[in-house]
C-alpha cells in the first residue's frame, strides 16, 4: 500500500546523466529500450535497461515492499483487541495480505538481481525508506477503519496506474496487489460506517480518526509538482504515470462524497467544489510536518524500525535452522545457496 514518494524520483533524476552514458555505450540496445517504453511495451528482467532505470526501479519496489511489511504494524496493533470476531477475522486477513504483498514486491525486486536479504538489511540500517504514513500511531479502533479507507484509498489511487508500469514483474505484482487491496479499502469504509452510525462515543471515535489521518493521507502523494521536478524521468520511463498533484486531486474528489455518505467531515474548512475547474479546491498541506516525519521525527519512526529489526534478528536462528536442515537432507534443494546468477530473472 505504499506511496511512491518524492525522494525516489529524486534518485531517478540523478540518473539522467548516467542515461546518456548508457546510451553512448550501447546505442542499439538503448534505442530498443526507448522504443519499447514509447510503444507501451513491457521491459522484462533479462532485457537491456539503463542502469539508472534499474536502480530507480529497485529503489521504488524496495520502498513499496518495505511499506507493506512496516505497514503491518499499526494494524496488527489492534488484532488482539478487535471488538468482534468478525472484525478480528477481517483484520487478520488484511494484515496477512500485507505480508503477502511485501512478498510479491520483494520477488519482483529480485528479478533485477537484488536479494530480499539485501533489501531488508538496507531497511534495517535505515538506508532505504518506507512510506511515512506508517510512522503515525493507531490510537483507537477507528484508526483501523481510517487506514483502510484513507491510507489504502490513497495507496490504491497511486497504485492502479502502476499496473501499467513499464517494468513487467512490477506491473504484474501490482495487478495482483490492486485486486486484493480493494477489499482493504472497503472493509475500512464499512468499519467507519458502523462506528459513525453507532453510539455517540463510536461516532466521535470515527471522526477523531478521520481528523488525524486525513492530512497525512494527502501527503502520501508526495510533494507538490512544482517542488518535484524529479518525477520527470520516472514519468518518461513510465515507472510513474501521473503527477503527484494530479493523483492527490483525484483522491480528494473521490473522498469528499464518500465522507458525506459516512456522515463524517473532513478536517479542512477550505474544501469546496470548484465549478470552473470541475474539481474540489482544498486547503494547504503542512509540508513541514511531512519533512519532519520523513527525516525520522514522526511519532513512531523509531518504534516501527526497532520492531522490524527485532523480529528479523530473533528469527535468524529459525531461518538458519531450516537452511541447515535442508543442507543435511538435501532433498530437492537447488545446488548451493550462494548462486552467482540472478535468481528469479529467468522466469519473472
Amino acid at each position: 500500500m505504499a506511496a511512491v514518494t518524492a525522494h525516489q524520483q529524486k534518485h531517478a533524476a540523478a540518473g539522467m546523466a548516467d542515461r546518456a552514458q548508457d546510451a553512448a555505450q550501447d546505442p542499439v540496445r538503448a534505442a530498443a529500450f526507448d522504443a519499447a517504453v514509447a510503444a507501451d511495451d513491457r521491459i522484462e528482467p533479462r532485457d537491456w535497461m539503463p542502469e539508472a532505470y534499474r536502480a530507480s526501479l529497485v529503489r521504488q519496489m524496495a520502498q513499496h515492499a518495505h511499506s507493506e511489511i512496516i505497514g503491518m504494524q499499526p494494524e496488527a496493533n489492534w488484532i488482539t483487541r478487535a471488538p468482534s470476531l468478525r472484525r478480528k477475522a477481517i483484520l487478520m486477513a488484511k494484515v496477512q495480505d500485507e505480508a503477502g504483498h511485501g512478498l510479491y514486491l520483494y520477488s519482483a525486486a529480485e528479478t533485477l538481481g537484488t536479494s530480499r536479504e539485501e533489501l531488508l538489511d538496507k531497511l534495517h540500517a535505515g538506508r532505504q525508506r518506507y512510506s511515512s504514513i506508517f510512522n503515525y500511531p493507531t490510537l483507537t479502533w477507528a484508526d483501523v477503519g481510517a487506514i483502510g479507507w484513507l491510507v489504502d484509498g490513497a495507496a490504491i489511487t497511486n497504485q492502479v496506474p502502476l499496473c501499467r508500469c513499464s517494468y513487467g514483474p512490477y506491473a504484474r505484482a501490482m495487478v495482483r496487489i490492486c485486486k486484493e487491496e480493494s477489499f482493504h479499502q472497503r472493509q475500512g469504509y464499512e468499519l467507519l460506517l458502523a462506528l459513525s452510525r453507532g453510539t455517540p462515543a463510536q461516532h466521535e471515535m470515527a471522526q477523531d480518526a478521520v481528523n488525524r489521518w486525513w492530512w497525512p493521507s494527502l501527503m502520501m502523494f508526495g510533494p507538490p509538482d512544482e517542488a518535484s521536478a524529479h518525477s520527470e524521468q520516472s514519468m518518461a520511463w513510465k515507472i510513474k504515470r501521473h503527477s503527484n498533484d494530479e493523483l492527490r486531486r483525484r483522491f480528494v474528489d473521490i473522498c469528499v462524497p464518500q465522507a458525506e455518505a459516512l456522515g463524517l467531515t473532513l478536517p479542512d474548512p477550505d474544501i469546496r467544489w470548484n465549478e470552473e475547474l470541475g474539481r474540489h479546491d482544498f486547503g494547504d498541506i503542512d509540508w513541514t510536518e511531512f519533512q519532519e516525519v520523513l527525516k525520522g521525527n514522526g511519532p513512531c519512526n523509531e518504534q516501527r524500525l526497532a520492531q522490524r529489526r527485532t523480529a528479523h534478528q530473533e528469527g535468524a536462528w529459525v531461518r538458519d535452522a531450516a537452511a541447515a536442515y535442508a543442507t543435511k537432507h538435501a532433498t530437492g534443494r537447488p545446488g548451493s545457496t550462494g548462486t552467482t546468477t540472478q535468481p528469479g530473472e529467468a522466469t519473472a
Binding site: 477475522a89 496477512q96 527485532t310
Partner: protein, 238 residues
C-alpha cells in the same frame, strides 16, 4: 452444549495467541502461514460458539472462569520453537479428535468434516517445523526441546473427556485417543532427533482444570486485552 463451548474456546484462544505473532514472525512466508492457521481456527471457533449462543457475547462478555479451553492453548507464544511445540501437541490432538467427530453422526459431524482438512494442514505445518528445528542447528534443537519440555505438563488435560451431548454421543474413546496421540507425537519427535519428555503430563491439580474454568495467570491478561474495547462500549455494534 459444553462440548461446543470447550472446543470453540480451544480454537478461539489458540487463534488469538497465533494472532499475536503478526508482525513478529521469523520470516515473511511464516507471517502468512501462521495467519492462515489463526484464521482457520477463528472460523472454527465462530461456528462452534454460535452453536451455543451469540459468538461475540461468548467471546467478549464471559469472565475468565467461564472459559472452557484447555490450558495448553492459552500458554503464551514464547519463542518460535515454543509456539511450534504448542502447535504440535494441539494440532495432533485436534486432528485425531476431529477425525472421530467427522466420522460420527453427532452434532459436530459436518463442522468437523470441514475443519479436519484445515487441521490436517496445521498438523503438517507443526510437524514440518518440528523436524526442521529439531534437526537444524544446535541452537534450534535445544530451543525445540525446551518448548516440548515446558509444555508437556499441559498435555494430560487434552484427554479429559469433554462433557456434553455432542462429543459423548459419538462415543470418543479418550484412552484410545491418548494412545494414538502419544504414538503420533513420539514418531515426529523422534524423527526430529528430539526426546519425548518424561515428566508428568499434568500438575497436581491441573488435570481437566481448563475445561472446568481454572486457567493459568497469563490467560486473564490475554482476555483482558481481548475484551477491553468491546466491554468499554456496552451494547454497541461494530
Amino acid at each position: 452444549m459444553t462440548a461446543a463451548l470447550a472446543l470453540g474456546d480451544d480454537a478461539l484462544v489458540l487463534s488469538h495467541r497465533l494472532g499475536e505473532w503478526a508482525g513478529h514472525a521469523p520470516v515473511l512466508e511464516e507471517e502468512v502461514a501462521l495467519a492462515n492457521i489463526a484464521l482457520d481456527l477463528l472460523g472454527q471457533a465462530r461456528v462452534l460458539l454460535s452453536l451455543v449462543g451469540d459468538e461475540d457475547e461468548l467471546a467478549y462478555l464471559r469472565e475468565e472462569r467461564a472459559f472452557r479451553n484447555v490450558q495448553l492453548v492459552e500458554q503464551p507464544n514464547g519463542d518460535f520453537a515454543h509456539t511450534i511445540a504448542r502447535q504440535l501437541f494441539f494440532s495432533v490432538y485436534q486432528h485425531l479428535l476431529y477425525e472421530r467427530l467427522a466420522a460420527g453422526d453427532g452434532t459436530f459431524a459436518d463442522l468437523a468434516a470441514k475443519a479436519v482438512k484445515e487441521v490436517a494442514y496445521h498438523r503438517d505445518h507443526a510437524e514440518q517445523w518440528t523436524l526442521r528445528l529439531g534437526g537444524g542447528t544446535a541452537e534450534s534443537h535445544e530451543r525445540m526441546q525446551r518448548g516440548l519440555d515446558a509444555l508437556w505438563r499441559f498435555t494430560g488435560e487434552l484427554f479429559q473427556p469433554v462433557e456434553g451431548t455432542g462429543v459423548e454421543s459419538i462415543g470418543v474413546d479418550w484412552q484410545a485417543l491418548r494412545a494414538e496421540w502419544l504414538a503420533a507425537v513420539t514418531d515426529v519427535v523422534e524423527r526430529a532427533t528430539l526426546t519425548v519428555p518424561t515428566g508428568r503430563q499434568s500438575g497436581a491439580w491441573q488435570a481437566g482444570a481448563g475445561r472446568q474454568g481454572l486457567h493459568t495467570e497469563s490467560f486473564g491478561k490475554m482476555i483482558a486485552e481481548m475484551q477491553h474495547l468491546h466491554r468499554s462500549h456496552p451494547g454497541a455494534s461494530w
